[in-house]
Amino acid sequence: MAEEILTAETRLVGKEAARLDAVAKVRGQARYADDLSFPGMLFVKAIRADRPHARIITLDLSWAERHPRVVCVVTPEDIPGENVVPVIYRDMPLLAVGVVRYVGEPLALIGAETPEAAEEAAALAQVTYEDLPAVLDPLEAIREGAPQVAVPEAAEAGNIFTHMVIRKGDAERGFAEADVIVEGEYRTGYQEHAYLEPQGVIAVPEEGGMAIYGTLQCPFYVQNAVAAVLGLPLSKVRVVPTATGGGFGGKEDVPSQLAAMAAVVAAKSGRPAKLVYDRAEDIISTSKRHPGVIRYRTGTKRDGTLVAVEIEFYYNAGAYQTLSSAVLWRALVHAPGPYRIPHVKVDAYSVATNTVPCGAFRGFGSPQVIFAHESQMDELAGRLGMDPLELRRKNALREGDETATGQVLTESVGLPQAIERAAELCGWKGLRREVDEFNRQKKFRRRGVGISTVMYGVGMGAKAPLLDKAGAYLKLEADGSVTVAVGNTEMGQGATTVLAQIAAETLGVKLSDVQLAPVDTSRVPDSGPTVASRTTTVAGAAVLDAARKLRARVEAAARGFFGVDEVEISDSQVWPSGEPGKAVPLSEVAHWMWVHNWDLGATGWAEGAPVDWDPDTGLGKAYFVYAYACHIAEVEVDLLTGEVHVRRFWAVHDSGRIVNPALARGQVAGGIAQGIGYALMEELKSEGGRIVAPSFTAYHIPTSMDVPAEFVIEFVEAPYSGGPYGAKGLGEVPLMAAHAAVANAVSQATGGRLREYPALPERVLELVEGA
């Protein structure tokens, strides 16, 4: 990207535009999955396994079929195409055959005239099983003689789905050179996405094919899955995302499963079929953040210079692969943290167990290891008698440094600035003194300040570069308004607004003249999945490319229109250069172009910059660019009850150029809240492979009372030459950084060391009393 675009004066990029979807959402006009209804629509209910691991002996659906309002019952034999939910591997069947591998696995489907009838009929299904030994814990699943959970073709060995490594330098030599070494095991549990809108889709048969409407992040994944189960060409399946009430990764792969289920019912009955989960079904049967068992050993010189790290971790993937290998890869690359470390050894494992498959969740495998690496940094600081901020400052990656995978960072490394700015905003030294003073005065309360620094590889990275591409289509309408078509979804993050800003900026039109076309896979270009904090960066670059082409054409036409050599366009006005008095509305030029048969459309294309990776050593250019953040949290711990309150929070991010600061701050604030929940309260209990109490009465997420009154959010912008106007990704980073700052603050306040999430009052009281 040309240098000038990074420094150019902008009209709209970098400004706080209101969200394009705000009015419809505030007025209640946005239509979510369950708001849609089609004539003759059936309601789908899955019959699910209630055993973690068992052979299916009989499946008797005769009573269910006799229910007067049941229209059709679907078993594996009724699937016209392949019985599979294709994700990365093809090990997960749409409907279980022979064996069930987790509680909640779908066995058969009911299509009925009402949701109540579908539910009643599902309860009439009679299944007999022969129980098989189940294994629920990843460390047990890899023991010799453990029951085989993984479908063998999808696993590397036994229940190990995937094992990946980094081997850089010589860890053993590194530790031999180290003056101080710390070691620890960390554990994290499930995290539930808690999107406001549960999963839901509707499959509607149409001429020779199937249309899918639903709440989802990745329309092209869904298209692929539905085509596979129906045995249809991709061209006969179209996917239309509805207004989507939150995703956070939970609507990356899971909607493929729902859509495929609804589609087979629709195909068999010839009628539209709706499948919408209630919260309990959603919690029991959909993906969550992988629980982890994580072991670290980190060594430094006496002056705090990091020399070596050795990491081994196990993620509980659940019964099928789904996205686990991709999640594991991001975890692998992010495990050493945003530091210069010459000797790195990482072993990452994802392990099959008889539990619900885990999947994508904001941060995608990285928050677990970030908890560990940021805890290690604080433990080291303690042992070295060094300020934890100083330790990070000393080791933080700078431009020209090499990452743990041996990638040289040639540009856009804003981490040192982020650390300095965060320290400045909170008044680090004074804050620590203030806290010490408070702690001296109070008998039963202790405050603590925690810091975390993180890096985030933007986009899909070197393990799936085939997905890091995006197409865009722009059309100048004859009245000067502009339609933008991309295949990314708006799930509340503000993507459509940001893409419209990029289009309007580049074309020289008013933001209000730009409209995003509704997404429909049959009508918009494939711009890849809406994941990996990639939409602004990659789809934005495609929009920019299309907008430049279109602008060049409009300029050429305008030169003809005015009969001059040079024209200028801004704010939907066009004028001959140097003669602003002759400005005409762009609509006039657009109309003139239409009359004179100009091509008013333009396509754009973008690809992530090249990446590479050697699976044997884990070395290579893992991601084309990284985003960075430094978070600081102040907490207060009640020593009598173990309750923790996050009092204040400072967050500084480098995500390159910020296209819309208001939306960016919203992303950061939301991520901080989710991070507070992850560190302090979110706990999903299961017993014998069954999730107990799948509701928000038992699974607590933070309320407005649980987030700090004071939130300071800022951006240091280290522009990225490959991103539109210098933008990098942001979406996932805030959550990744926030929980670790809170965890470190809790440890500091209690004088103990938190090694397991969540820091519930009971666990914190143990820390207090053990300290």
Binding site: D278, H645, V692, T703, S704, D706, L760, E762, L765
Partner: protein, 283 residues
Amino acid sequence: MRKSGPVEIVRPKDLREASSLVREGGMPLAGGTDVFVRVRKGLWDPPFLVYIGELPQLRGIEPREGGVEVGAAVTHAELLRSPLAAQLPVLRLALSTIGAPAIREMGTIGGNVANASPAGDSLIPLYLLEARVNLVGPEGERSLPMEDFILGPGKTALRPGEIIRSLWIPFPEGKPLPYFRKVGRRRALVIAVASLGALFWLRDGVVEKARLALGSVAPTVLRPREVEKALLGKPLDPGLLRPIADELSRLVNPISDIRATAAYRRRVAGNLLLDAAARLPRA
């Protein structure tokens, strides 16, 4: 399993009709914040519901000689907004921790009492203030002290056809220091893992009289009278109260459940007494 099909709601015109409908097996429905949740989950399966939430006889907040009579269908939010609540600070403290604003606008004090949960937050101040439950039923009216009305988790002394009409809340003598603290997994919209409410009457820097009530640490809200007595003559100094706090920990009878272990509840029960002492003025 969710109940399928709607449950009928009947609207009686007065208390008499309400009582006879309840006698026929109908379940009283006030704010519905417990009823709807449980009916939907299939935990309760009443033949029909009797909506008493707007019966005028249940809606008043009436100051009387020495106290206030609060209609059973008065919502937590109404009570918090009423000037009388200012005279009962311990009630205010407890009510303002119930659920979140929406729940407080819907949920009623009568519903909270009838529900008889050991975690019912309004129960703590009602025990402390030695409130009475006024009942009306087919055999006329009667009145019971809170402690005799609540028999166990979800169990009350309500007889067939009886409805809670009101709560009689006497004003305490003098100006006791109020304390209420609810410990939970987050700061709002949460069920108590353990809670302590207290009234302390101090004279010359020592406790002259004390009442304590604990939630979620026994099958019902608990008044630990031994501990109340042990506090007499002691200053509110957390440094000196550790043995009494330990005694309190021993006395409670909690269970382990999805929210916390019994051991934690026991520990916190005692600790909350120290917290009260640390937070309240010493004289």
